[in-house]
Amino acid sequence: MRYSGWQVLAQGIMGNRGWRPAWRDPAPKDAYDIVIIGGGGHGLATAFYLAQEHGLTNIAVLEKGYLGGGNIGRNTTIVRANYGLPGNSEFYSHSLKLWEGMEQALNYNVMHSQRGIINLFHSDGQRDAYARRGNAMINQGDDAILLDREGCRKLLPYLDYEQTRFPIYGGLYHPRGGTARHDAVAWGYARAADQRGVDLIQNCEVTGIDIEGGVVKGVQTSRGAIRAKKVAIVVAGRSSQVAAMAGMRLPIESHVLQAFVTEGLKPCIDHVVTYGMGHFYISQSDKGGLVFGGDLDFYPSYAARGNLPMAEHVVEAGMTLMPMIGKARMLRSWGGIMDMSPDGSPIIDKTHVEGLYLNCGWCYGGFKAVPGSGHTFAHLIATDRPHEAAARYRLDRFATGRGLMDEEGTGSQHNLH
Amino acid sequence: MAELMAKSPAHGLTPVAVGGVTLSEAPMRPVWAVMPWRGKGAALSRALEQAHGLGFPEPGAMITSGQLGIAWSGLDQAFLMGVEPDAALAEHAALTDQSDAWTQLVLEGAAVRDVLARWVPVDLSPAACPPGSARRSLVGHMSALILHPGGDRFEVLVFRSMAGTAVHELTRAMRAVAAREAL
């Protein structure tokens, strides 16, 4: 069934009784060409692009809970291509282009809103670092504008330009950055993959990976054994546990990142704004809630919840930067499990097991990567060669020191995040 | 020869009195970090006793004797206050002058615990923090050493450079507590 305004009108007149399920609920088959472990955004997108770009449809996506139940459904919905280092630069550029055609490709409105992102800076040194990044973005073919204080004032009149603790010098403006409706991305990919023949199997937990002679043969699941010629691991915070089933230790630590939303408000913040002197980023959802977040709680956690000190710190940053938000009320807080890599950049690579592929290490930036990750991972799985936009996301870069992508410069070791 | 005028960290910022609580800065006095060498804790304690009549304090404790005091201030560390350390101590401990590194703010009054509860994440109730306690913790976002000699008196040591912030924040809490009491 194709979605459109006419369809909404026609169904409305007919009492909305004609809508069909967005996806099937199939039982797992005995064997597939490809099994994708993980029905989050990245796994669903991988399945979609395998079908769409490579004509491979004998695929199962195995999800231990419900589709889109992980980080795709609990992030702060920011979409951007404003990275400065080779590797990330071309990858996120590629991903943003896919975002820009996503609704048409999926026939699903993910409400991708290119409202613009402004990264504020608060010193000459920060300005120069952002300028370096902005120039790299333009060299990559993306967009960036360096705003001075007055430029910021025009776009963001509600910031505190007088009293705030760390004065606002300006901002790096990325007009094509923005937000999207996170759940809709998962649902859109799920529906489009399902329509192309992919089996989306919920409540199916993988309990083992079958390997013979260094070659992957299939997986064991809570719903029985499934044979597969290729197996792809895309399980974010649970990467270490699933990879351990294949005898691997990963350069990953799972951490909690909190996010927050306020009660609904009439429009007051029209962009995505990030603070340069303490992690704080905010945008307003179309429904009216201010969606915001900050830094990791810093302790490893699988609990998908955090504690008050970081929550308070995040709100405090908001209060010094844009004191108007003191009048809003925090409605809900939650946490996601972040698969933190040592240098803060992801891994899309083959493994030492033939036919076993790994996609992880998205840290706290996986949402915007969903289409790019799915697209390039599908390419790797289908062709056994890395896509050029993700060729630097190698698993061995930590051992060799080649091509480390430590965007924040805090160090490429776990304890320095 | 010119003489260098000394200025205390909170010079000109105190005293402040609001609603029965006063905030003042203690007069400057010698403060020395005393950090025992490996395995020299007991010997240091004896030497301290001999030289200054004060042993090395247990974690979380402060020992006073007249105008002298020694307060536990961290792992293997105490602040000897009110006297320059006897040279003999150097055999047992590293010594570092901290006399100018801290502002020593004194809070006194019945509501002093309510004021500190606005900023300090440790329990300062009489049961949890009896007289003679020394606590390393935070005052807001500032690292602090909080001493409780007894009664309704607390001494808050924060870094000299933050004296202005400390006075501002404690004063704000004093005002809020007083306004609540009037409610």
């Binding site: 270490s240 302790y299 956690s301 609990a303 | 961290g74 792992l75 390393r136």
Partner: protein, 89 residues
């Protein structure tokens, strides 16, 4: 979350900075093979369950601690001075 500092008692986690898995104490010898250094710096068990990790009591007594904690329940079951953990081998 409370961290039971052996010196200060149970304290609010806001006084501390978590600093990764306690295996970071087990620094390889200078001449250890590159794989040992890669293991040490990058590869992690990353357990969903009990773990041992480093916490720095920076806004407290300044001690580095080895904290035993569960990454699923967040339950903290113990803390020792990192120095003593090292001394105990």
């Amino acid at each position: 979350m409370l961290i039971p500092c052996p010196l200060c008692g149970a304290r609010d986690s806001r006084e501390f900075t978590p600093k990764g898995h306690a295996s970071y104490l087990d620094r390889p010898a200078e001449d250890a093979p590159p794989q040992a250094w890669n293991d040490y710096l990058h590869l992690r068990e990353n357990p969903a369950g009990d773990t041992r990790e480093l916490w720095f009591h920076g806004a407290g007594c300044g001690a580095w601690l080895v904290v035993e904690r569960n990454t699923v329940s967040h339950a903290v079951t113990g803390a020792r001075l990192a120095r003593e953990v090292r001394d105990a081998g």
